[in-house]
């Protein structure tokens, strides 16, 4: 006799310990196996794109802080680069270096959260996350020195940065750059070769190279699938062509590769920081830009390699003081589109870590 069975629909989220915000996975389960998944988002929609169209070009910068709130500096940078490209505003040399320093510090901070949260999703009870928060705290201290803020920095300006760094910043950064590689090794040794982590993450949630390219994934998610694509190299912005660094890539595209790529990227970021610190010139940090900026009529797409992937701002100007159209290409949202393909057929526990390994920030997905 065949027993009558029916699919078991479980809503994972929106309020769930490991949805990294307010994301909902409407999963259909067969026992523990996920047979279908429908992502539901929009719980954090704030209408940032529309709000930005009502503000001046310089007044939008605080809004970009609130996109990927774990990487505000990168958001600032992407936006001001787009505006500078549109209005052709020069940036002083020292400001360029400061921007790169902030962006790379931010990348380390964001990856620390990503790796820590991923390991936490794997079930390592808080310890890796808290270790990584310890170092993130040092980065936040550095950011606090320069901007007075610890989460939404609002530091970059069109045509430079808001102010020069205080004099205690450079020695503090030097010290950080010196000790950070040791800490990265520490995180690496904590769990990298752990049997349980290997069993949980190796071969799980594979994102094939072709699919990754087709959904236009970017950032560590794309690189873990074996595609050597990093906008810092592919389309160098700011002064990234002056630094030497490698692009770490994975081979398989599983959760473990994504985790490894992030660890390696932190090492490369420290390398860039070291070089930037050596080359840092003196001088102005901000060029003269009118408060009510009126860029010429036209459109522009400015993109950078944010910690989570390609962050782009598409601006259309009608020569008024506010952007006519303001669109954000959020890496989190686009990387998330592969989620269903990655988790169907895996178990509930796998779904959580696959989702964690994509590293999304809901502030950016929903905007």
């Amino acid at each position: 006799m065949a027993l009558k069975t029916e699919p078991f629909v479980v809503n994972i989220g929106p309020a769930h310990p490991s949805t990294h915000g307010v994301f909902r996975m409407r999963t259909t389960l067969d026992g523990e196996v996920i047979v279908d998944m429908e992502p539901v988002f929009g719980y954090l929609h704030r209408g940032i794109e529309k709000l930005a169209e009502e503000r001046t070009y310089t007044g939008v910068i605080p809004l970009t802080d609130r996109l990927d709130y774990l990487a505000s500096m990168s958001n600032n940078l992407a936006y001001v680069l787009a505006v500078e490209k549109l209005a052709e505003i020069p940036v002083p040399g020292r400001a360029e270096y400061l921007r790169v320093i902030m962006a790379e510090l931010q990348r380390i901070a964001s990856h620390l959260i990503a790796v820590g949260a991923f390991l936490n999703d794997c079930g390592a009870f808080m310890t890796p996350l808290l270790y990584m928060l310890r170092e993130r705290e040092k980065i936040l201290d550095l950011f606090e020195m320069v901007s007075g803020q610890r989460l939404t920095y609002n530091y970059m300006r069109v045509g430079g940065v808001s102010q020069d760094v205080p004099e205690e910043f450079i020695p503090a950064l030097g010290k950080f750059v010196k000790v950070m590689p040791g800490f990265i090794d520490e995180y690496d040794q904590l769990l990298a070769e752990n049997e349980i982590l290997l069993a949980r993450a190796k071969g799980v949630g594979i994102l094939p190279k072709e699919l990754a390219i087709n959904i236009s994934a970017s950032g560590p998610v794309l690189r873990a699938s074996g595609v050597k694509w990093d906008i810092r190299k592919a389309d160098p912005y700011s002064i990234y062509d002056r630094f030497e660094f490698d692009i770490p890539t994975g081979t398989v595209g599983d959760c473990y590769d994504r985790y490894r790529v992030r660890i390696q990227e932190m090492r490369q970021s420290v390398r860039i920081l070291k070089q930037a610190l050596e080359q840092l010139p003196q001088g102005e940090v901000r060029s003269d830009v009118p408060h009510l900026l009126r860029p010429p009529v036209g459109e522009v797409y400015g993109h950078i390699e944010a910690p989570k992937g390609e962050l782009g701002f598409y601006l259309v100007s009608d020569n008024s003081i506010a952007p006519y159209r303001f669109h954000i290409r959020a890496p989190s949202l686009i990387n998330l589109t592969a989620l269903r393909d990655m988790i169907v057929g895996w178990k509930v526990a796998d779904a959580i870590i696959i989702f964690g390994s994509i590293d999304i920030c809901m502030g950016e997905v929903d905007r």
Partner: protein, 374 residues
């Protein structure tokens, strides 16, 4: 004659349970030990909660609770008062009676385990001659309570957690029992008090593999990391006790730590020589060893990730079960063939066998499972 026979006299009935001049008869003995066990369990659980929170705080480069009382020692008391004052919620469509009964069914067997644990020579409620079997039988009743909680809550996460529990605990019971048999073979008795008495060398040295299997199996039995699937915080919120609040939640919390305490006490008794030890009084030795084992348990909790449900089952059936059988075989052969051998020979032989077996299994055995085509 049973334990509950009123004519039972501790000095005559069950071996040398008590000194002959122990005052009072059976009922006094019974009453005194019931009180001792309840106080011991509750006090130790509070101590464990404090110790674990402070200890894990240290592991995680933070302080842990340090506000209530000196060094935060009163934190468990504050927590207990808090949960007592919380509203008790029963899900509208839940099974009221099952939901209500579940914490009780889970809690009672855990306390009952302590009836046969010797705190020092003869200081135990009942020196059953089948003591270890009693422990194995009683400790698996808690599963029923946990499944009742998952079922009665009418919550999908709870049900998932409960399903995982049943599969897990039924599987791990087998290697657990088989690993105990090695100890029983050497000791020649099922009574926990006797097992302690014959341990002139702690059995962890004679049975290193048995100890490892028992320890892993016990961690799975009490749902501790890396086997805490049924309340996997990052996957199924809180598993079976998602829908519990107030005192009923506190009971489940208590069960978790009381189980850890029970397992620590059993490991201490079976493998670490129980209350035996030089200089210090026996009861203190017992406590030190129990806390030591518990420290190991929460050290593991704060370090390693969780396994997946299919890997968990594969580990029990493909890895622990064969190893437990081999361990039993080897122990049996040693007891038969080498009864007169020097202890150090056996110790080194067993350590070598354990190393070889573990190396072999780590090569042969892979945590299987993977993607299912749907």
């Amino acid at each position: 004659m049973t334990v509950f026979d009123p004519g039972f006299s501790p000095s005559s009935g069950y071996g040398q349970t008590l000194p002959p001049d122990w005052p009072g008869g059976f009922w006094l003995h019974w009453g005194v030990f019931v009180v001792i066990i309840l106080v011991f369990v509750l006090a130790m659980v509070m101590g464990f909660i404090y110790l674990e929170r402070r200890g894990i705080g240290r592991f995680q480069v933070r302080l842990g609770p340090n506000r209530v009382g000196p060094f935060g020692v009163l934190q468990p008391v504050a927590d207990a008062i808090k949960v007592l004052l919380k509203e008790d919620i029963i899900p509208a469509k839940g099974d009221r009676w099952v939901h209500w009964l579940a914490p009780v069914v889970a809690f009672v067997p855990v306390v009952m385990i302590f009836a046969v644990v010797p705190f020092q020579d003869g200081a135990l409620l009942a020196d059953l001659n089948i003591g270890i079997l009693y422990v194995v039988a009683i400790s698996s009743i808690s599963v029923v309570g946990i499944f009742m909680a998952g079922w009665g809550s009418n919550n999908k996460f709870s049900l998932l957690g409960a399903m995982r529990t049943v599969a897990q605990e039924v599987s791990y019971e087998i290697p657990l029992v088989l690993s105990i048999l090695g100890v029983v073979l050497i000791a020649g008795s099922l009574s926990l008090n006797d097992i302690v008495k014959v341990q002139s060398i702690p059995f962890i040295l004679l049975q290193p593999l048995g100890f490892l299997i028992y320890f892993i199996g016990a961690c799975a039995e009490i749902n501790r990391t890396p086997f805490d699937l049924l309340e996997a915080d990052s996957e199924i919120v809180a598993g079976f006790h998602t829908e519990y609040s107030g005192m009923k939640f506190a009971l489940f919390y208590l069960v978790e730590y009381a189980e850890a305490l029970a397992i620590s006490a059993i490991i201490t008794t079976l493998f670490l020589g129980g209350w035996r030890g030089p200089v210090l009084p026996p009861f203190l030795w017992f406590l030190i060893k129990v806390v030591g084992v518990f420290f190991l348990i929460f050290w593991i909790r704060s370090t390693i990730p969780r396994v997946r449900v299919d890997q968990l089952m594969a580990f029990a059936w493909k890895c622990l079960l064969p190893l437990a059988l081999i361990n039993l075989l080897i122990t049996g052969v040693e007891v038969l063939v080498l009864p007169e051998a020097l202890p150090w020979t056996i110790i080194f032989l067993n350590l070598a066998i354990m190393a070889v077996l573990i190396a072999l299994w780590s090569k042969l055995f892979r945590l299987g499972g993977g993607r299912v085509e749907v």
